[in-house]
Symmetry: C2
DNA sequence: CCATAGATGAGACTTAGTCTCATGTAGGTT
DNA sequence: AACCTACATGAGACTAAGTCTCATCTATGG
């Protein structure tokens, strides 16, 4: 998965630097959503010497390329989810942080209908579903 | 509209203090979504002497009572929209900041379908639609 | 191997939000 | 009306999130 990120960055025409390679691996090792602070902590724990700015810069890059998607957690924090460029909505587990993708079936129709009724010209939308994944429901391991 | 907010606060059993009355009016005078910083600026402009903490505390209260709803703007800022307690989704104009409500037709079905397929137990969801309202499309007044 | 545009880390800086605490006041009680 | 007290407030310290600048470094094409 880290490779995919790096390939996509290469395709986007940016340099494959040491810090970016390392961060790609840190992201790949995270199971679900993560915050900038999470990545920063990972990097510090491993003493990679990566600056705060570099992390924010990479996340911005990845978001531009649709390699991660920003989700706003119910508690207000900003997090990121590694993301297939073609899918745009996520089910986020508030217990373990895992996420899975939702295909757009129906959502676009809802958006179109809302646009028709309101007269708005819709440019973007954001849908996030929060709950507990199958694993966290059965196992009593809310991590 | 300020009256509605104040009545609802009264019903919720909290005190109707001076700062709360003044903030209710400031909120009522804002056309669409607003951030905590917006309110703070309004209050300072009028020299109301209202502290930062008071504003955050009131917004938290209003959100608990579903009198405002938090929306996360595409640029990452946290904003609030005055809100009917019964409706839960918004069309937000990125040009003038106005918003209108979307009834849930279809959205809940999408959520239910996603839950069925994924096995997630969905606890909450957030849908925000961003675009340009009818007024901002026709008039060349992006405010 | 070199040149250079692009990327980096350090750390100052800005903004958002929380917390504590001494003081003030809303609103019920008398 | 005066009083009491739990609740609310403003000030300002504090923390966390994010941006910016700039001197230095390096990936990459030639
Ligand atoms: Zn996705
Ligand atoms: Zn889970
Ligand atoms: Zn609403
Ligand atoms: Zn508008």
């Amino acid at each position: 998965m880290a490779q995919q990120l790096l390939q996509a960055l290469d395709r986007a025409g940016v340099r494959l630097t040491g810090p970016r390679r390392e961060l790609a691996h840190l992201i790949a090792q995270r199971a679900g959503h993560f915050t900038a602070a999470d990545l920063l902590a990972d990097a510090e724990r491993r003493q990679l010497g990566i600056g705060r700015a570099t992390i924010f810069r990479l996340l911005e890059l990845l978001a531009e390329q649709n390699l991660v998607e920003r989700v706003d957690l119910p508690d207000g924090r900003h997090a990121y989810v590694p993301c297939e460029p073609s899918h745009h909505h996520h089910l986020v587990c508030i217990s373990c942080g895992g996420s899975s993708e939702v295909d757009d079936c129906g959502i676009d129709a809802v958006a179109a209908e809302a646009a028709r009724r309101s007269g708005f010209e819709i440019q973007s939308h954001r849908l996030e579903l929060f709950g507990r994944c199958p694993g966290c429901q059965s196992g009593t391991s809310p991590q």
